[in-house]
Every structure is written in C-alpha cells, then in structure tokens.
Subunit: 351 residues, 2 copies
DNA sequence: TGTTAGCACTCCATGATGTCGAGTGCTAAC
DNA sequence: GTTAGCACTCGACATCATGGAGTGCTAACA
C-alpha cells in the first residue's frame, strides 16, 4: 500500500483544509470553521467524524479536549508530500527576485548575501544560504603579494570567481622578485586542485617539489604553511527580526530557543543538510518539519531547502527557516525558484 | 552650582543604593529593602522621605503609587557621572580578555570579530565593534591581478594591515605584463592617500596623469572606475541571543523592537557615535542612557562605548548595547579595558 | 530641627470563581 | 452514510477577594 493511499478522498480533503487553515490563521481549526471557509458540501458533524479518524491515525491532534485540531508532524508531512498544490510565483515576484539578485552580479559573496536577504524579505522567515562547498571550487590562481617587510598577502582565486586574501607573517623578508617567482611556481603546481585540499596537496607535493626545485619549494612551503587551516564555511543568514514577528514567538521561551539556534552556525549547517538525506535530493526543495529535527532539540521549527548548482553540479544549499507552521506551498516555490536563479547567475559568473 | 552638588550626601547615598539595587535585581526598590540590603543606619521612614525628594527632583520615579522606586534617565545619568565606583576587572578577567584577543592577531577583521564576541560573552549584552574609519587608513599598496580573461582582482593593502580584494570586470583582456606595469604606476601614485579618498583622488589626479603618462593612466582609470564606491563600514556585532536573556525582554514587544534595531546597521553606527558628541570624547567610555537615545525611537536601551586608537589616534569605537538597566560600573571597565587592549594589539599589527 | 514609629491607604500579584463561546463526541433520526 | 441535536469540556476572559510590599502623613521623640 503506497503511503498516499493511506487516506481516502474525504480524509485528504479535510486534512488539506485543516493544514491550509491553520497555516494561514495560526488558530486551531474546528469543524464549523472548515465547512464555512472552504464551502464544503458537508455538515460540520461529518467533518467532525473524519477529523476524529484523522486524529486516530495520527495526522491531527487536539491541544486539549474540545479544542480545534492542529496538524501533527505526520500531518504536515503528508500534506507536503501529497496534498499541497505548489503555489506558483507571480510574474512580478519572479521578476523581483531576478532583478534584486542580478544587481549583485559582481561578487559571489555579495550575491550570496543578497540571496539570503531576499529570501527573508520575500518569505518573512529567516533566509539562509550556505556558501559553496570548498570541494567544489578549484584553485585558479595563487599569488603572493608583499604588503610590508614582514607580511605577505596570499591571494587565492577559485573557479567560482571568488577571491580570498589571507595575510601571512614572514619570518624574514622575502624580496619582491622572489615572491613573484614563488607565485609563478605555485600557480604551475597548484592550479586546478580543490580549494579544500590546499593544505593536503601541499604536503603531498612536498617530496616531489623538494627534489626538483629545492629552494623555491622550501620557501613556498614555509609561506603557505602559515595559511589558516580552512575557516568554517560561511553561512549567510538574514531576517531574524522578521522571523520573530510570527505569532508563535509571542512565547518568549520559544523565541529564545530559536535565537540561540541561529547563533550556532555549525548546527545550522547540519540542519540545512538534514533534508538531503531525507528527500532523494532531487532537483527540488526538501522540507524538514518540526519534530523530525528534534534530535537537535528544536521541535518547533521547520526548514525548506533546495540545492543550487554550478555547471550542473550541486555545490551548496539555500533555504528558509521558520516555525513549523509555515506556508509550505509558497515557500517551496520561492526556495526552488531562488535556487534556480542563483544557479543561473553563478554559471554566468563562472562561465 | 555644579551639577554634582545638586544632591546632598544622604541623597547621593540613597540614589546610589537605589540604582545599585535595581541594576542587580531588576525589581523596583523600596525603603525597607534598601536599609536592610545596604545596612544603612537610617530607618525606612527617613529613607522614604529622601526618596520622595529624589522623586520630586526627577532622579527616581514610581511605576505606580505605592510601588518601589526605579531610577529615571536623569538618575542613571547622575549615578554614572558622579556616584558610581568603577568596578575594576579582576586579574583573571583582564588576562582572559588579553588571551582571547591575542589569539586572533593575524588579521584585523578577525580581531574585530573576536572583540565583539568577547564583549558579548563577558558582559552578557550585545557586543559591537565598529571597523576603523576609512579616513584613518592609508593605501599602502595597490595591485592588479588578473584572475581570468575578463576579470581582475584589485588588491588594496592599507596601513592598518588590512587587505581588501575587489573584483572588477574588464571590457577587454589586459595582458599580465600590462597589469603589472599598471600596478607599479598606481602604487607610485596612490600610496599614502586615505582609503576613503580613493575615488576622489583618482579624479583629482586624472588631468595630471593623462598629461604625463597618457596610456598607463587611461587604462588605470578605466579599471579603477569599476571599484564599488565605498561599501558601508562593517560593524561586528554579536550576542543577540545573550541579550535576550535579560528579564526586560520577557516583554516580546520590547524584544522585537530591539531585534529590529540590531538589524539596521546604519542606525547602530549612529548610536555608537551618539556618545561622542555628548561626552567630551576623552580617553574613556561614554554612556548613552535610555531616553537620551529616544530620538531614534528606542527609549529602553543604553549603550556604553569607548574609542580605540591606532598610533594614538582614535579611529573607531566599540561597546555594548543592552537594556537601560545595565551594570554600568562593570561595563565601563570592560569596555575601556577592551578598547585599550584592542588599541595595543592594533598598534602591534600595524607597527 | 531632624528622625522615627505608627497607621491608614494604595496597588499589584495571585488565585478562586463564574460565564461565554467554540468545539467536541455521541446518539438517534433521516 | 449523513446529519441534527444535545450534553459536555475546556480555554479565555472578567470579576472578585486576599495578602504583601510599599507609600505618605502625622505625631512623638532626641
């Protein structure tokens, strides 16, 4: 029996109505409300019966006897997987996203930041964009530039069009000419390797280099050994204040919990990626709902994420984070469209 | 009559006690409480009389008849200016600050970020560090580095030891040799000018250059004209979640207000600088209390800030932001000490 | 004259009580 | 299988009483 056929048509109808109503009003929904709001050709009593069934099977729950019903995680899940009709973005919304992102077409980091900003703005949730995984970016160029007697800048340009500069302190001054030769040497040797593997590659090549180009290699190693070993992947996050407007956060305890979570970047990265294992990581958005993420101690939040690609290869994820009660039909659209747009712009930047 | 002598000794004693008590408990303070807590050699009745006087002169207020007293902005102001005994940091606290900051001694940006983090951690408020004003940093070096056929990285190293890299798109490829010559030319011409004046300087030198070194200058201008015109000054801010632990933010409306403020970087910069005009911008911290900042629509927050220096010249400010009810004696110490430490480390970095 | 004890009063916080309305489950009728 | 009717439940909200912390005022005291 496929999971979809767990429910008959009427049950599907009612479940969809309950979720829909709750998502928009944040109020527990009763049988009367539902027939009026959706002009069902059923009496409240019938709806009540069906709702009782749905409660028994675990799709709905009551906060207390004689209160209206609220979707459970299972209910949301069924809704997201089988019931919800994706809400297409209007032309003007699509244009807005395209316009605001195209503005930042100079710099990959700016583009990511703007994307998270836009996600927050459009969805009224918190927008999150994970920077491309370092494995997906290759070193295009390495340059050593002297900036003072005892300091040099190491400039690394990668295949995504990003440029990172790191300062290294030199034990003894290296003449500019020498640095230029070093740069040339490093460029020849290191171009094309993934940025994540820089330090490892250095070690791997060491023997070889030392044998062939002793003096140059020794100096290069000495300088590059000073590179900080892989900073944490940046995460672009915006819209905390927006998020707090949601009525669920009138409860300050919940608000504090989420604010705390947003301060811990590492856990956010986990959350972003949590959806991947769950969904079949297809072309489209994945949704992690409430309790499903409870292992991380936050049972009241959901995330909708989607991968973005460079040259067809998924290199990172973006999405929105908000309370469990989210307008999923709209959010999946927004997130998918934004991911597609970001992919397109990145391709243009790197092409 | 000096402002200090507005109050007689007993009034000073009582005011100090009220502020002190309120700061630590967040509860309105009554006459009984005060005599017990501070073991005053006075009866509650006497204290009551004095408190009534202080209320009349505007240093204290009641939330309602027969509630305890709470300091007004004026009360806090008097306390901060004349009554509070600066609470020296313990040796271990000073060492902690020194240790955690010294770790990040490689990179000015890291250092600033770490400073804001530390401020938040130590004070349980939000830590804010403003990046050095661009006028205070001179261009040390400019380099143009080709990163692809149609893009070049412009690397600008400044006198504070920072390195900024910006990408510019080239209309037509420029050979590497040519870029090197351009770099040399720009270095000769632009080294030593304030980074804030780059674009202006470019325009100012244009005539001159075009006359003397026509080809080089034309190309240089064409490339550098693409530099984004001065990004907003970065602000390093941390500890929002910490701040929300304060009891005043149990009121979600206030919490939202502050969260909104923290999202608006420009207004924060204003707030940070607001103290400067008020205090005589001496060596030490300045305090902006509650209503004093109300022009900006946030009457419930205070900021304690202090300037930090490079080579003896104030180049930026750092501080903490929190509810009006703050432990000022401790915060001024922390902020001052942190500013001094940051100044020292910056000097070492740039020296 | 300044300080204190005493006392009546005020007001908030807390908890108990009652009412209203939205919603339910169940039963019986259609 | 569906619906109408009805008794019931529970939260939200208002009302009310109580206790405690605190005040202002007055009169007595050193």
């Amino acid at each position: 029996m496929s999971p979809e056929s767990q429910l008959n048509d009427r049950e599907k109808l009612i479940l969809r109505a309950v979720v829909h109503s709750y998502i928009t009003t944040a109020e527990p929904v009763g049988s009367r409300t539902i027939v009026k709001r959706f002009q069902l050709d059923l009496s409240p009593a019938t709806v009540r019966n069906t709702m009782a069934d749905l409660e028994e099977t675990g799709f709905l729950k009551q906060l207390h006897t004689s209160s209206g019903r609220v979707p459970t995680d299972l209910g949301y899940r069924y809704y997201v997987d089988y019931l919800m009709r994706v809400q297409e973005l209007t032309l003007s919304e699509r244009q807005r996203i395209e316009r605001e992102l195209s503005e930042k077409l100079n710099d990959v980091d700016d583009l990511m930041r703007q994307t998270s900003h836009l996600l927050a703005l459009v969805t009224h949730q918190t927008g999150i964009v994970e920077a491309p995984a370092p494995e997906s970016a290759e070193v295009r160029r390495i340059d050593l530039i002297p900036v003072s007697d005892n300091r040099a800048a190491v400039l690394i340009a990668d295949s995504l069009g990003r440029v990172r500069t790191t300062l290294v302190a030199l034990e003894e001054p290296i003449p500019a000419m020498e640095l230029t030769r070093l740069s040339g040497f490093l460029n020849d040797e290191l171009a094309g390797i993934p940025t994540s593997g820089l330090t490892m590659s250095l070690r791997a090549h060491m023997q070889e280099w030392l044998y062939e180009q002793r003096r140059l290699a020794e100096q290069a190693l000495r300088v590059l050994d000073l590179l900080p070993a892989g900073r944490p992947e940046p995460l672009f996050l915006e819209g905390t204040a927006q998020l707090m407007e949601q009525p669920e956060f009138n409860d300050m305890a919940k608000a504090r919990e989420v604010l705390g979570l947003l301060d811990e970047r590492e856990r956010l990265v986990e959350l972003l990626r949590a959806g991947v294992t769950r969904a079949e990581s297809g072309a489209h958005s994945s949704v992690v709902i409430g309790l499903e993420a409870a292992e991380m101690g936050h049972e009241d939040i959901s995330v909708v994420t989607s991968p973005y690609r460079v040259q067809g290869k998924a290199v990172g994820r973006l999405g929105v984070l908000g309370p469990r009660r989210m307008p999923y039909p709209r959010l999946t659209s927004v997130v998918d469209y934004t991911a597609a747009m970001l992919s397109r712009l990145l391709d243009r930047l790197t092409g």
